[in-house]
Amino acid sequence: MESAALEVRDPTLVVRRHGQDGAVLELTGTWLSQRDLPEPAGVLGQLRSGAIRRLAFDADRVTAWDSGLVTFVLKVLGETSTWGVAADRAGLPEGVRRLVALAEAVPERQTGRGGARPAWLARLGARAITKADGVLVGVTFLGESLQALGALLRRRARFRASDLFLVMQDCGPRALGIVTLISFLIGLILAFVGAVQLQQFGASIFVANLVAIAMLREIGCIMTAIVMSGRTGAAFAAQLGTMNTNQEIDALSTMGISPMEFLVLPRMLALIVMMPLLTVYSNVIGILGGAVVGTGMLGLGPTEYFEQTRAAAHVSDLLIGISKSVVFGVVVALAGCLRGMQSGRSAASVGLAATSAVVTSIVCLIVLDGMFAVILNVLGF
């Protein structure tokens, strides 16, 4: 964009009167935006106070220019034209003249952006309405997924078995590593916390009871669900969000294939099957973790520890944990799929969808777990 810059001189600007109501802007030097360019405001003030009606430019001695000169000229022309000043552009460099014409070719669009922020009450109201709509959308999504389950039972659901197995493999066997690590350490920590307290009463053997009941009823299923929400729920959201960006979901819909059946159902089924299995696995590993502390730190014999565990744990505890894990699986799958399908069509919104999926599912998991605790307590389990 630079014309041959032979000498580097500071950009200067002189306003020269011409006739009774005319003025010529004399520009010299290198007009590059990196250098300190004269402000249009100063010139405009001068022109205004001089009651100028005609304006011309003399840029013969401009040695180099870039966008800086073009923005300057555009500002001066734009402002003076509102006063009714006739401008003669012939004195501008050829390139500048063409660029100014190009920039003026399409008038600025009044988009109504960048206006004042609405009052706080209006913003609060708008947020409340959005949240309420969000709940409605969530309930609708739950309903649609139940319909898809119904279609499955009537053997009318359309999805590919291979997809189901792929998802199952991903959220089952491939999750074993992280579930093992988390469950083992949680069992260990539970036993430690319990041991410190129970040793004071000489009741260290009851560490086995504590670990067994806590793992079976609560910790096994909730930890597995949280791990799956971070690992698998976020992946569902990212995958479906990207599919939405690429219009892949639209492509399914236009072919008359329900995205609920084709995409959501296999993911939900996979978690419904895998979550209980992972939970049982997590229970076993957690109890092993407790046993390591029991035998290594408290001096209990392995047989003694497992005998105590067997006596403390009831089948009902195991069943409660397993039933909760099924519900949690549905929550993780639905939160991931819902946020993915709601995602906007950009990279940023896919990221938001993944975040939102994890937040939604963890909030729902904890709230549901609290409700289970109250209900089971009332029922006497």
């Binding site: 014309s3 966008s67 050829e94």
Partner: protein, 246 residues
């Protein structure tokens, strides 16, 4: 040019003159975009080099490469605007990063660049809120942000309606004339090629090398290679040669 051991194109050698519109053409999958990636410094060629003003790009140290990259502007096929930023922020980012301009100067330049591509007033829009044609033009505006010496366009008219695509061609020519910049355009749109190109190179997928070099209009009428003639006449080379076959 190769991916692994798979050679896409070999023995390419051509010169782009300052201030010309240079078109890289060829059928789908012949390696046009790969060649562009080599030229803009995204992908190192399997062998050979790209030279700017006598300065070798691929043998240069990273600092020199970055300096060269700043003299290039690239308009990607689908805009490639950063989706988490508004159009103004997209264009302002290189200015903020590589110049010491004040915030107000940057916003003036951003408005100018948007006005040049006919998008004045769209500063606060996010890329997801504007149409495909507007995205492409905003991509051109971002490519021009640092007043580059050379502008690269990857398939500028792909996915645009004829009028928008024509306008973009006019924009390319107008920018070349007023900025004196060099334009390198990858395209297979014949209408575009004949409107804008001063010079061109034709890549062939079968022989895996360039089989023609020169002004496309001259190539259409005089090129001895039937593949090139057929391409530039939309596959009707033999029919034309064989008389009125319709």
């Amino acid at each position: 040019m190769a991916y692994g051991s798979f050679v896409i194109q070999r023995d390419l050698s051509f010169t782009v003159e300052r201030g010309e519109v240079f078109v890289i053409m060829g059928g789908s999958g012949c390696g046009k975009s790969t060649l562009l990636n080599h030229m803009i410094g995204l992908k190192r060629p399997a062998s050979g080099d790209v030279v700017y003003d006598g300065l070798s790009f691929w043998r240069a140290v990273p600092e020199v490469q970055d300096g060269l990259r700043r003299r290039l502007g690239v308009s990607f096929q689908s805009g490639a605007l950063w989706s988490s930023m508004t159009l103004a922020e997209n264009i302002g980012l290189p200015l903020q990063t590589f110049t010491r301009l004040r915030t107000r100067q940057i916003s003036d330049i951003v408005s100018l660049k948007l006005a040049l591509v006919g998008l004045a007033g769209y500063e606060e829009f996010y890329p997801s809120e504007v149409s495909g044609g507007m995205l492409k033009r905003a991509g051109v505006a971002r490519a021009m942000a640092l007043d580059p010496d050379i502008l690269f366009f990857d398939e500028p008219s792909a996915g645009l309606d004829p009028i928008s695509s024509r306008r973009l061609d006019d924009l390319i020519l107008e920018l070349r004339d007023s900025l004196g910049a060099t334009m390198v355009v990858v395209t297979h749109e014949l209408a575009s090629i004949f409107t804008i190109a001063d010079n061109s190179v034709f890549l062939d997928a079968e022989t895996r090398t360039m089989i023609a070099h020169g002004n496309p209009k001259t190539l259409r009428d005089e090129c001895p290679n039937p593949t090139v003639r057929s391409f530039l006449r939309r596959g009707q080379a033999e029919a034309v040669a064989g008389g009125p076959a319709t």
